[in-house]
């Protein structure tokens, strides 16, 4: 069974054949996280990810990106099986729980870095692939900074005081590039909301597509 068939089944909340979803798989969606085949399939069955025929799939031996209609799945692969999974841009948190917020400074410097993406962290990525991914990440940063992915209609176009991208995964396959990033956003204004989400960017030749989680709409709680 191919990785594409595995992901298409998982996107509908169905168990793929051939142990295609590992029992210890970890699944992140909309700020929540669960582990295990049963929990993952249940979450996706309740809110399936529509996948159009001919949907974009970018993959290599370790990683696959599948574009849905408005969202995307990203999978870490082990011998073609899914060992970690992200749904970006759609669905609902599979575990809506309280959390301890962490006050932090992403830059620790007066010269900020918008995109955290260093060659040392991607030892298998060829220089030309790294350059293509860096260009795509810069475009994703610009797209995010324009206010896409706000918490609601009122804030969707609100000015963001700070956006930082942490590129977590990259695939370069022929002319196609796909990347997954953790996104940290801090809203502008006197009282600000902040939080992490995920974003996916696809590029094929000159065509780019971005998928972005909304900014979490919740109170800041740096305490138990």
């Amino acid at each position: 069974m191919s990785v594409k068939l595995h992901l298409e089944a998982i996107a509908r909340g169905l168990r793929p054949d051939d142990d295609g979803l590992l029992s210890a798989c970890r699944f992140a969606c909309m700020g929540g996280e669960v582990i295990g085949e049963e929990s993952i399939l249940q979450a996706l069955a309740e809110m399936p990810m529509p996948v159009a025929p001919g949907a974009t799939l970018v993959e290599d031996a370790k990683l696959a990106f599948l574009a849905g209609e408005g969202d995307a799945l990203v999978a870490d692969l082990y011998d073609g099986r899914v060992g970690r999974l992200w749904r970006v841009g759609g669905g609902a948190s599979p575990a809506d729980e309280p959390l301890v917020d962490v006050p932090f400074d992403p830059d620790m410097h007066q010269m900020p870095v918008g995109v955290f993406f260093e060659t040392e962290d991607f030892p298998g990525l060829a220089p030309e692939g790294f350059a293509a991914a860096a260009e795509l990440a810069a475009a994703l940063l610009a797209h995010t900074a324009q206010g896409h992915g706000g918490a609601d209609a009122d804030t969707a176009s609100a000015r963001l005081a700070r956006v930082r991208l942490y590129v977590l995964r990259v695939v370069v396959a022929g002319d196609a590039v796909a990347l997954l990033a953790a996104v940290h956003r801090l809203e502008g204004g006197p009282t600000r909301r902040a939080g992490f989400g995920h974003a996916v960017a696809f590029a094929h030749n000159a065509v780019r597509r971005f998928v972005l989680d909304p900014l979490p709409n919740r109170a800041w709680t740096p305490r138990l």
Binding site: A24, G36, V100, F104, D105, L168, H184, L224
Partner: protein, 356 residues
């Protein structure tokens, strides 16, 4: 023994459960173990499955030493009989518990003495009442636990257990502060000498040296990172050992990315704990798929709760923290950090429990 000995003994990472539980010939010499166990990873994964999922809880009597000590930050549990009874009690609360083994990072510290750091995330339904926590809620639950076990001849002779207990309470609608305060009130009754284990542990943290490790051990860099942060307060220098995109999960749903976020997590602890002492208690490492390396560090932190932070107003009490960190190293840098400690037991100390 070298950290990467016995290359045929694979990490469970990336392997389906059907393969992990398949019986077959031995892949490692295991003196005194049941023949069903193929290697130390299989021993940990399979006996956990047999005890918790198959409900053959009595196997605790042949898999734990009669006088074994299970070290928890809420106090030690001693003996195989207590482990057996506690397991039955836990299963009453969460009978459909799946104990999903994410990794087993192990070492053979001397011939025949194994040490495993087993990261488990459970999935279950809260079907039974729990004393001191909550009546059955039928809510879905699941938290991460790291169990560090010293294993000799089929028996766990000592164990250190850390669990994300605040998250566990949140999931069943319980208030961690209220649960910790009730436990602390109970701790104040009776003979206070029973809390001497905590005083002894704090003394070890303050006066003992870090555990030694072989030259070139992959744990050296993460260990140096923790010491640089918690002992030297040089946070940016410490974080330089992390990947720029490091993926972080700490207790109570702290999840983020990047060096700055790690510094934020470390400073949350450091800001609250004054006159701090850090000690590295154990290290292990094993190869992972795709050329990565898994590292397990068990560490303790002692300090006086004199600063504001997630644990509330300063109590002035001396607090002990026991933590286990699992790292994924890629090309020598820390790409993932999963650090676990029990913050309910910390709140219990702050409320005056456990002899604090």
């Amino acid at each position: 023994m070298r950290w990467d000995q016995d290359p045929a003994v694979l990490s469970p990472v990336g392997r389906p459960i059907s393969e992990l539980l398949r019986e077959g010939p031995a892949r490692q010499q295991l003196e005194g173990f049941e023949p069903v166990y193929r290697d130390i990873v299989d021993y940990i994964i399979r006996c956990t499955h047999r005890i918790w999922e198959e409900k053959n809880v009595g196997l605790c009597r042949t898999h734990y030493g009669a006088d074994c000590t299970m070290h928890l930050l809420s106090g030690p549990a001693i003996g195989a009989e207590l482990v057996t009874q506690n397991t039955i009690g836990s299963l009453l609360g969460y009978p459909d518990r799946r104990v999903i083994g994410e990794d087993v990072i192990w070492s053979e510290d001397e011939p025949g003495t194994f040490y495993s750091s087993h990261r488990i995330t459970s999935r279950s339904t809260h079907m039974g009442d729990e004393a001191g926590v909550a009546p059955a809620t039928m809510r879905s639950a699941g938290v991460t636990t790291i169990a560090d076990c010293k294993v000799v001849a089929n028996r766990i002779v000592e164990e250190w257990l850390v669990r994300d207990n605040v998250r566990a309470l949140w999931q069943v609608g319980a208030d961690p502060h209220a649960v910790a305060a009730a436990a602390a009130a109970s701790d104040l009754e009776g003979d206070q000498a029973r809390h001497g284990w905590r005083t002894d542990w704090i003394a070890r943290t303050r006066s003992s040296e870090d555990v030694a490790m072989e030259e070139g051990h992959p744990a050296a860099a993460p260990a140096a990172m923790l010491r640089r942060a918690f002992a030297d307060d040089l946070y940016r220098d410490a974080a330089g050992l992390l990947s720029a995109n490091v993926d972080l999960r700490w207790p109570s749903n702290r999840r983020g990315a990047g060096r700055g976020y790690w510094v934020g997590c470390a400073m949350q602890l450091a800001a609250m704990l004054h006159d701090r002492a850090f000690r590295l208690e154990h290290v292990a490492a094993r190869p992972l798929p795709h050329g990565d390396v898994a590292v397990a560090l068990r560490w303790s932190l002692a300090g006086f709760h004199r600063g504001i932070g997630p644990w509330g107003p300063p109590s002035g009490r001396e607090v002990l923290l026991l933590a286990v960190s699992h790292y994924r190293l890629r090309a020598g840098r820390i790409a993932e950090d999963l650090t676990m400690f029990d913050e309910v037991a910390v709140l219990r100390q702050i409320a005056g429990g456990l002899g604090a």
